[in-house]
Symmetry: C2
Subunit: 593 residues, 2 copies
């Protein structure tokens, strides 16, 4: 059940694909170049491998449990989270003025990948806390920030996001939770929230709930939603804990996976009203939430990459250990199954997906750093547009592929994969939540097709296509079979992508339902393409550096080639689905299903 | 959690795609035409929907349990199995001389689909019994047949298949269980078998284990394996039960899914030796097993289709019931999510896969009937070749797609899909065993690429391609958008398929490992093509009969078109993987993973 963070691969991607040293050229990030990344990742790996990863299986076997409104987490989680906070890991990405370490996102992303790979159920607690911190940084008053954020950054308190209600899943317009102003600047919050990750637990002294609710007289729909801080325990002016607030966990879900992570139903205001504090202005809650959601969606994409890598590592280990059947090329007796071509095909698929999605995500993280901190306005703008385009893809593509990768992980184990004690099945169960929460794949695809493609007339998408063409020109200079294979499939995929973008822009208004019918296929092919493009860039570097470390770089080259021939080769077919398939998708009436 | 067998669809496929009336023209099957099929399917549906389906969720929640060597199955299973046997369902396909009903496989297949859809864990018990009966019919002495088969056909006793051992999963050459002749015609069997489905349970009076073992002095490898009947209770000459045999369940597995189905570790001979009876001749066990395995592999393929349909039905129900978000075309308030294009896209994917795979399987079943019972030698031969080619595809393709379909079923449910009580997750867990047991997908693909494609120089595969071309010619006569879309993608897919077959035949010997690297991609594209071909044939009939039942046939046409644009469109890309991807798959050394 062990996990070993792939440090060499991560550092390669940071340096040669995502450009960590470019990020370090931004004023304020001078100390966060490659060497710092290497040192931090090594420390992070140590903690994740040794402290967090061993608790992953325990969490599945001894999930969080609820008794009398109190959630007890898996034995060991509380202690590990204390260590996590004390070592400063909760603060990696947060501003130094609140006690954080102020790292760029590109480095923090690698740390977050490790934590999720080590133990996704555990890592959800800091992930949600990150989201709550981000929301407060975005819009909360200085008073709220000073009172809450330092203790969240230190890991003493944790945070939650309270969006979903029983009648309102992905549709936040339907939120009914209400907040009544008390005349003293505070509000009383009443309502029920479901699917609240770490909504109740015993790993921290206090839990800071960020809650979407409506104020009296607020407009209907999403424009009447406000954001509130509702702490589990009220906080005195000196930061000490006061009374228990009227926010209670009434049940936790019995789930397919991530069982150690308590998914709470929270009842606000059953005993007179939960005291809440408005974040920013009334009726702008969704706007603040969206800023935070970008970060959260990116983080869930990282979970996909993380669990894919964990599943891959486990499958590789099994394939090396398990001997069965002779080698096709002939052998004395049975060989380790890793020598059988279809086992290699499965492992290569897992590996190619994971490496491609990782490179895409780290590139997106670097773009986010440039977007937010570059001194150059035009650099900020172009990177923001790139990052915004990539977020739904990082989320949608990486999580969908993680389900397939975890499923292949089970398959590599054969019959043993179906036995729970083997552990491969846990990843298959855990991964299944990823394409659902923090916006389903369909929600990501809506975002991609509407706000990110149609709204700018396909401009950003076409700019990406141009950048890919430049990579194609680089590839054309190499005459190796790998570079040529990549060139062929990257070019065909890019052309298909451009035709899809044109189609979306041209038909979005006139043929809306048919365009939306292809939204997930578009997201998938964009994910295949952009990840494949990063694999192409990695291949070019790997060919140049081959002699430095031939074992590592020849594997990178082969993986990139596999990516081209097995994954990029799927893009033209997916494009046909988008371009032609709308009518068939929408043909049947509800009654005909 | 309800299931409703799709009778109209099944009967359409039987009549207009698989040609049940052609089967009924075979002497001996005169009474088994369409009308009989309709009557039997209706009865079967009633039993499956009302008696078996309601126990499916119970089986997941209250799985089989082991105490002191005795397995207690889920409450209700024993009674349901008794009803099943008494109503004659165990005997549907078996010969009338042993108390069966002698139905052709094409009709029995539809019954079996219903049973698996209703409750896969339950249906495994009769499925394994079918396998054991088949093995004994193939090779057992008349005495063994008379003593055992009638009680298995009646459902009084059940059967098992004992192949796998701890050190020998897919590789039967490694079987170590031994059988010592006692000089009186009986043998004593010693060894451990694992993964034995219904290897121990309380649903029948006796369990008839079919066991692979080696006799003293047998050749090494698969040529030294013999097949034995080892009953749980010895059987007296008059058919009454005698002493308990030395075959004991020592543990059952804790599995990801199909929890109601006990997966036993059986210990033979720990107390002096389990009495066994040789089936057929010594050292020919694998040969007999292979005959039975064809039937069992086909049956597992049907399980894939069955669970896919069940998952589809559940997702449709949820999508009709759940209201959320406004319609893209504008609506007063939230609408049922089935009106959202991506929900339709998911449901259409599930539906298209299921209908395509079902049509392929029923066609294969009809070919099996012709292969075994046609009075015309050349008809028998050509149908046998077709059936043999299709078995690994029905098994491999239908089970792989069932995992994807069950996963989509979870996705349609959004967050509720991840909550176990919703029930969608059970199908996702249950389906995961299907690409593994009864020969993994890789094993099926090896069979397809070696015995079924290379060995005859691609002859059967090319004959199928010719038949597809004939269907293309039919399609060309229709100028509807659906027929034209189908023609375009079917034709492209068929051309890709032919190039893959040529490649396999040309390179099988010279470049074995690279050819095998593409074996699963070949299996998948062959499955996509052959299923798509049946959808094309269905489309042609549907266009002709449109006015008879426009709701049903227009849905069939739209589903066929969707199949072309979303599934057949994947074939050329998959072909590129086979043709080009071998080197990349095999590049990495074990150490580089």
């Amino acid at each position: 059940m062990s996990y070993s963070a792939p440090l060499k691969e991560m550092l390669f991607v940071l340096q040669d694909v995502a450009g960590v040293d470019d990020v370090a050229s931004i004023p304020g990030f001078e100390d966060y170049g490659y060497d710092t990344a290497a040192a931090v990742l090594e420390e992070s790996a140590k903690f994740c491998n040794e402290v967090v990863a061993p608790l992953n299986w325990d969490g599945d076997q001894q999930p969080s449990s609820l008794k009398d409104g109190v959630v007890t987490t898996t034995p060991g989680f509380k202690e590990a989270f204390k260590q996590f906070g004390e070592a400063g890991w909760q603060g990696v990405i947060h501003p130094t003025e609140f006690g954080g370490q102020g790292f760029p996102k590109v480095i923090a992303t690698a740390c977050s990948e490790m934590l999720h790979a080590a133990n996704m159920s555990f890592a959800l607690c800091p992930m949600l806390t990150d989201g709550a911190i981000e929301a407060m940084l975005t819009a909360a008053s200085d008073e709220l920030k000073q009172l809450y954020i330092p203790k969240m950054v230190s890991g003493e308190w944790t945070g939650t996001m309270n969006l979903t209600e029983p009648q309102a899943g992905s549709d936040l317009a339907a939120v009914r939770t209400r907040a009544e102003p008390q005349g003293d600047g505070t509000y009383k919050v009443f309502g029920t929230k479901i699917f609240i990750t770490y909504g109740e637990h015993d790993m921290a002294e206090n839990i800071i709930h960020l809650v979407l609710a409506r104020c009296p007289g607020a407009p209907e729909g999403v424009k009447g939603i406000s954001l509130f801080v509702v702490p589990k325990f009220l906080v005195n002016a000196d930061g000490s804990l006061g009374e228990r607030n009227d926010a209670h966990c009434v049940s936790i879900e019995h789930k397919l996976g991530i069982k150690a992570s308590p998914t709470a139903v929270l009842q606000f205001g059953d005993h007179g009203g939960a005291i809440g504090y408005l974040v920013g202005e009334e009726n702008r809650g969704l706007e603040y939430m969206f800023i935070m959601m970008n970060a959260a969606r990116f983080a869930v994409g990282m979970q996909g990459i993380a669990i894919a890598d964990r599943a891959y590592q486990k499958a590789v280990q099994y394939a090396k250990d398990r001997t069965q059947s002779k080698d096709l090329a002939g052998s004395e007796g049975p060989v380790a199954i890793i020598h059988h071509p279809d086992v290699k095909r499965m492992l290569m698929t897992m590996r190619a997906y994971t490496e491609g999605a990782r490179a895409m995500a780290y590139v997106a993280a670097a773009a986010s750093d440039q977007a937010h901190f570059s001194p150059d306005e035009s650099v900020r703008q172009s990177n923001l547009a790139l990052y915004e385009y990539l977020v739904p893809i990082v989320k949608g593509f990486s999580t969908e592929m993680s389900v397939d990768v975890a499923s292949l992980g089970v398959q590599v184990h054969g019959g043993m994969g179906f036995i729970e004690e083997t552990g491969a099945a846990q990843f298959y169960r855990d991964a299944r939540i990823l394409p659902i929460y923090e916006g389903t794949t369909a929600i990501q695809a809506n975002d991609l097709i509407g706000r990110k493609t149609y709204r700018d007339g396909g401009k950003v998408a076409k700019q990406i296509a141009q950048l890919i063409q430049a990579t194609e020109a680089e590839l054309a200079k190499s005459h190796t079979p790998a570079a040529q294979a990549m060139l062929k499939h990257l070019s065909a995929a890019r052309v298909s992508f451009e035709s899809v973008v044109d189609y979306v822009v041209a038909n979005f208004k006139s043929d809306t339902k048919n365009v939306f019918a292809g939204s997930v296929a578009y997201l998938r092919l964009a994910g295949l393409l952009v990840s494949g493009w990063q694999m192409a860039r990695a291949l070019i570097v790997a060919e140049q550096k081959l002699n430095d470390d031939s074992e590592f770089f020849s594997a990178k080259i082969a993986t990139a080639r596999f990516y081209a021939e097995y994954l990029l080769s799927q893009v033209p077919g997916a494009a046909a689905s988008v371009l032609e398939g709308g009518a068939a998708v929408n043909s049947l009436s509800a009654e005909q299903f």
